[in-house]
Symmetry: C2
Subunit: 340 residues, 2 copies
Amino acid sequence: KTGRVDMNHGAGGRAATQLIEELFLPAFDNPFLRQGHDGAALPLPAAGRLVVATDAHVISPLFFPGGDIGCLSVHGTVNDVAMNGATPLYLSASFILEEGFPLADLKRIVDSMGAAAREAGVSIVTGDTKVVEKGKGDGVFISTTGVGVAAPGVDTSGANARPGDVILVSGTLGEHGVAVLSQRESLAFETAIVSDTAALHALVADMLAALPGREGDLHVLRDPTRGGLATTLNEIARQSGVGMLLWEADIPVLPQVDAACELLGLDPLYVANEGKLVAICAPEAADAVLAAMRAHPLGAHAARIGAVTEDPHRFVQMATKLGGRRVVDWLSGEQLPRIC
Amino acid sequence: KTGRVDMNHGAGGRAATQLIEELFLPAFDNPFLRQGHDGAALPLPAAGRLVVATDAHVISPLFFPGGDIGCLSVHGTVNDVAMNGATPLYLSASFILEEGFPLADLKRIVDSMGAAAREAGVSIVTGDTKVVEKGKGDGVFISTTGVGVAAPGVDTSGANARPGDVILVSGTLGEHGVAVLSQRESLAFETAIVSDTAALHALVADMLAALPGREGDLHVLRDPTRGGLATTLNEIARQSGVGMLLWEADIPVLPQVDAACELLGLDPLYVANEGKLVAICAPEAADAVLAAMRAHPLGAHAARIGAVTEDPHRFVQMATKLGGRRVVDWLSGEQLPRIC
Ligand SMILES: Nc1ncnc2c1ncn2[C@@H]1O[C@H](COP(=O)(O)OP(=O)(O)OP(=O)(O)O)[C@@H](O)[C@H]1O
Ligand SMILES: Nc1ncnc2c1ncn2[C@@H]1O[C@H](COP(=O)(O)OP(=O)(O)OP(=O)(O)O)[C@@H](O)[C@H]1O
Ligand SMILES: [Mg+2]
Ligand SMILES: [Mg+2]
Ligand SMILES: [Mg+2]
Ligand SMILES: [Mg+2]
Ligand SMILES: [Mg+2]
Ligand SMILES: [Mg+2]
């Protein structure tokens, strides 16, 4: 009636049912969700391993250049499922709404979420809606959990990197974080910087398809989200007990992102991405994987950026453009809050 | 260092990794979670249907008589999986923490969650941790998603109730809501009222086991959470296109809950439960199901409370203790906020 979320929308009664039926169900529509049960009953995949991934999304602002919390919450979870080398099948979505939030904004978000799910070929099969008092939340928080299936023989865990392996990234780095930050600070750049938010599972499928019968040569997949490439590589180095050597000159960063980072005092290697992946593969597989990446629209700017080394200290090092070498450490100190 | 959640705990860098490794992983410990990947790779169940359910938990206060948001977030989702007649296997857990929240309280919650999961025989296989600024959240919100498997032949959807079916509840109603509310209002009752929060899947398994080869006679399962029994029955009546007739005298409510509801101006039929279920079954199955319920500790006070009727208006009616008859409607007007 008021056009805003009120406490009754979260109380499980008539207002809650109406919100779900009028706003959420039409946007997500699919037969599983329409079961309207306490959970969704779904066909079991025939073979492989089940993959489950989850992320809460608390990004601020809710709308940013290139996307919004709705599509982001689909892409983020689809990507974590895909990083396990899996095909995402189903999503759950749980909403925490702040009292007073405009229903029109909620509808935009939910429509964007539904569109992203359809585009990714996943069904939002079950959900939940809670409301907290004004000042106890921040508009909308969305937690998504993804369920997928990985084919037998696929194992892309962070512990699989081996000395000699090749490190690839699927494209230019830092767009998401810079887009969100520039929106937050009301910065306008000459060339617009938009978030790279996108679902990567089709790219991953193409990469695996490029290694028929030797999918195991794709050792590691990770999406460099919070903390950016630097953090992701340090995590992998630690989990695998290896070092890494990157070639700065080969790391793709858009010039306008470089310039914006300069201005904002950021290093693009530490800035979040939402539509990029890091792949580490056996050297003999690198050409095939890189070619498959470049053949996909989301991997057009894929690049070979370094190699895995033997290093008891598990350092990620970088050969700089100036010919030096430095350690790319875990970020310490202030980081970018609420970037996803 | 400060003993409190700070923004860096949500930024994906070293502080975040440390929080996960020192606080979450020890509490939830299991080999799937220890994979430390973007998601968890899990054995696929052999047969049946996959069941996925999700709930966000925003209960206030976080600690209440009989439980806390941690165990509640396990029980709530385990129960929604169980209401599909499924065995819960895996949980994901995503946390939204408010800056400044005491880490000691977080540890209590997370330990309680881990204990509840172990007790229920489910593994928390993957998680996520985000932090929002002080005043943009409320301590801790937890979204859990459960994945389980339902045996072939089991279908407990809300659309399956048929005229003549028997309506059963697994025990006394209203404890959870009254316990939370009394804590919130600092009310002390002569006899302590504690939440009934509990995992119901073992009870459900026993009920299905009581119907060997005719599991389909158990038509509907639902947990009467937000909105209580009245709301749950109205939902089922609507989904199945039937009416219901309840016998007030047979609906189990503890005397102290009745008294507290009187004081608080509540009707126990509309108050949330977190460890109770409603079962609707074919009349010829009712005795076996009720006996199985009563044989389980969580169903000791199970009762037959009514029958499904033919009614184009889909009314839930109640034969009152005084010999009258009234409609038990959907709740309209103010409801209890943040009860789960
Ligand atoms: N935001 C949403 N988007 C899509 N579906 C939703 C959403 N919120 C709820 N639903 C669906 O509506 C139905 C009722 O959800 P509800 O949360 O009331 O059930 P519940 O989890 O059993 O109850 P409670 O949350 O009180 O424990 C379910 O089928 C659920 O999947
Ligand atoms: N609260 C938690 N409880 C248990 N495990 C957690 C928790 N938070 C994170 N994890 C685990 O820690 C690992 C890293 O999680 P993280 O959220 O950083 O990964 P991600 O989802 O790939 O990154 P992002 O959230 O930035 O998209 C994963 O294995 C995840 O399951
Ligand atoms: Mg339920
Ligand atoms: Mg993620
Ligand atoms: Mg729910
Ligand atoms: Mg990830
Ligand atoms: Mg529920
Ligand atoms: Mg995460």
